[in-house]
């Protein structure tokens, strides 16, 4: 019986048992409350996007998290732990210092039939960033992503003036009845929106006035990455997409329906 109930008496058994029991109950509910409070704070602090990426990245297979330096062959078998945010990466900074980037290739490169124009930087989420003269940057889908999406059924772009952040949601697209969240490659404020027909999707005023591009792939790095990406797509599909060494043009129709989600997830780094 409990204290206060008729006939109750304290015994060591009661003390130990009820003590343990209440401790456990308290720990369980305090833990739950702690998680709730922290979640509430994070939510209020608008950290949801960052958390989403952090969680998604954490759940990506190790192979999908390969370091850019491992892709280029500079290092062996390195897995990124920082959510592809090389700006925070000491190794990246060190490597950049040790081996300054080589001169850009003379002409647009190409990997497995995917063109990689030189005038832009690439994000691991298959977007590109092109700095414009007016200080803004243009953001678009790279060719693999474009071909994969074909003409999206629907696109929902952020309104001008909306802040977006690296690896947060850039915009959303729908195709074949399933949605795709495109990772934003830059921090900044949306200045203008384009669309699939325009060849670009967003114009962004970079945060702090200038583009910090350390986390973006340079065109020379993009080719091995893209080859790896094509390989991944093929793994997901379980068969080759190449048509005589060149990727099929009409990728969005070539992917079988049951693999569509998986392919999109692989390409756009989603869970």
């Amino acid at each position: 019986m409990f204290p206060g109930i008729d006939g109750f008496e304290w015994t060591p058994g009661h003390l130990i048992f009820l003590g343990i029991f209440y401790t456990v109950v308290a720990v369980v509910f305090l833990t739950l409350a702690l998680a709730a409070v922290r979640a509430w704070r994070s939510y209020r602090a608008n950290r949801a996007e960052a958390i989403r990426w952090q969680a998604d990245f954490h759940d990506l297979p190790a192979r999908d998290r390969a370091c850019r330096h491992a892709l280029t062959g500079e290092m062996r078998e390195r897995v990124c732990e920082l959510g592809f945010d090389c700006r925070r990466c000491e190794t990246h900074a060190r490597l950049l210092e040790e081996r300054p980037p080589a001169q850009a290739p003379a002409a647009d490169t190409e990997a497995g039939g995917v063109r990689l124009p030189l005038d832009r930087l690439y994000h691991r989420g298959h977007t590109w960033v092109r700095p414009e003269k007016d200080g803004t940057v243009t953001v678009g889908l790279d060719e693999l992503a474009s071909r994969l999406m074909g003409t999206p059924d629907r696109v929902r772009l952020p309104k001008a003036g909306r802040r977006i952040s690296v690896n947060g949601t850039g915009w959303r697209m729908w195709k074949h009845g399933s949605d795709v969240r495109v990772l934003s490659p830059v921090d900044g404020e949306v200045a203008a929106t384009g669309g699939p027909e325009a060849g670009w999707y967003l114009k962004v005023k970079p945060a702090e006035g200038r583009l910090d591009a350390r986390h973006l792939l340079r065109p020379d790095e993009a080719a091995p990455w893209m080859r790896r990406e094509l390989e991944r797509v093929q793994w997901t599909l379980g068969h080759s997409l190449a048509d005589g060494g060149v990727m099929v043009q009409n990728l969005s129709e070539a992917v079988p329906a049951e693999a569509w989600d998986a392919v999109c997830a692989g390409v756009f780094l989603q869970v």
Partner: protein, 416 residues
């Protein structure tokens, strides 16, 4: 709509096929719910239990599923406390299995007691000396913990996690999971033990009675060990089964082998402890209560073969298989051994619950048998159906196996 709920990167069968799979189980669950309803409305006279067989199929079921559900706490313990990260591949599945087993057991317990409306009496007037009080407290607490552990998995559903607040909550919850895993481990150790103690303390049932340490009889510790051994084996088994049914690779063989190894190590310890315990019981405990141990096995079909089966066939044999590095690399051996381990745990719980009650104590008593009624079997099946339903839905809509996506991407040799 259905597709939007399925995690990206994994393939699931068509909704129609899934529905076809669910229908028989749902029918079984409905039948079971009807059986259980009869027992609740008309009373326990619907069962074939009686004053002598005060416990029957249901208690056997409870003890067994809770032992099999031990994978949840033990995997959690290994992953979060001992940092065996490779077990991350099965932790979600383990949590769902644990939740299913425990909630099923609690539901059946509610049907099993004569006055479910008074279930809360145990919390209000607890007798701290009763093993059942310990069990009740721990199981309810642990079921709460399991529900909290299940919550993040649920929140990880593709559609649900699109809601930012849920996403954030899931993330934060995940970060404190080690606390819950710790609490869960603590609770599980106690209630798995108390379930063993439940029978071990029965001074009036010399077949079950054991001496022990402090307030706990030896079965307390044996149950912890055996449950810890059976839990991983059951996860291994279910993973393999799900993999076979869904025709997908879900976890890497190393993970399976690791589960097998853990099970094997614990099992060999258990078998040794059980053997020592049995010897002590035969030579000390039983004679002290006025019974020679061989008398307990004088009734067919409950002969000494049960002891042999329990310790050697379902104990030592799978333990040796699982401890063999080479055999662990073969799914056949792994699964075979896991089946033996899980059956062994069932047999052990059966012996403790059913044989104990079947054996006479009074000198002019008879050996009794008992056949469960269809209502009991129905309720029993409902728990299994409920488990399959919850697990199937979880497997379809929640990311239970993080490695699945990765394994699905591995290039295949032929166009499969």
């Amino acid at each position: 709509m259905d597709r939007a709920l399925i995690s990206r990167g994994v393939r699931r069968c068509s909704p129609r096929q899934f529905l076809l799979w669910l229908v028989p189980w749902a029918a079984l669950a409905a039948f079971g719910a009807y059986s259980a309803g009869l027992c609740l409305v008309r009373g326990l006279n619907q069962t074939n239990m009686d004053n002598r067989f005060a416990f029957g199929l249901w208690i056997f079921l409870d003890l067994t599923v809770i032992a099999l559900g031990a994978g949840a706490f033990f995997t959690g313990f290994l992953l979060y406390i001992l940092k065996r990260h490779e077990l991350k591949a099965v932790i979600n599945s383990a949590v769902v299995i644990g939740f299913v087993c425990y909630s099923g057991a609690v539901v059946v317990l509610m049907v099993d007691v004569g006055q479910p409306l008074r279930a809360w009496f145990t919390f209000w007037h607890p007798n701290v000396h009763s093993m059942l009080t310990e069990v009740t407290f721990c199981i309810t607490c642990y079921l709460t913990v399991l529900a909290i552990e299940y919550l993040p998995i649920l929140l990880k559903n593709r559609k649900i996690r699109q809601v930012p607040s849920f996403l954030v909550f899931e993330f934060e919850l995940h970060k404190v999971m080690y606390v819950l895993a710790g609490v869960g481990t603590f609770l599980s150790f106690f209630h798995q033990g108390s379930l063993g103690g439940l029978y071990g303390v029965l001074r009036g049932r010399p077949f079950a009675f054991r001496e022990g340490f402090a307030i706990w009889p030896s079965t307390f510790f044996l149950f912890i060990l055996s449950a810890a051994a059976a839990g991983p084996a059951f996860i291994l088994l279910t993973t393999w089964l799900v993999s076979k049914i869904s025709r997908k690779r879900l976890v890497k063989l190393e993970v399976m082998a690791e589960l097998g190894r853990i099970s094997g190590v614990l099992l060999i310890v258990y078998v040794l402890a059980k053997a020592v315990d049995t010897l002590v019981w035969i030579n000390e405990t039983a004679p002290a209560t006025g019974f020679a141990a061989h008398q307990f096995y004088a009734w067919r079909p409950f002969g000494t073969w049960i002891l042999f089966a329990e310790i050697v066939v379902f104990g030592l044999a799978p333990a040796l298989v699982l401890l063999d590095e080479k055999k662990r690399q073969r799914t056949g051996w792994l699964v075979g051994a896991a089946v033996l381990v899980c059956s062994g745990i069932g047999l052990n719980r059966f012996v403790l619950t059913i044989q104990t009650l079947a054996l006479p104590t009074l000198p002019f008593d008879a050996f009794l048998s008992y056949t469960p009624s269809w209502q009991e079997v129905g309720t029993f099946l409902a728990v299994i159906a409920y488990g399959v339903l919850v697990y199937s839905l979880s497997f379809r809509y929640l990311p239970l196996f993080p490695q699945e996506r990765e394994l699905a991407e591995v290039p295949r040799v032929s166009g499969d």
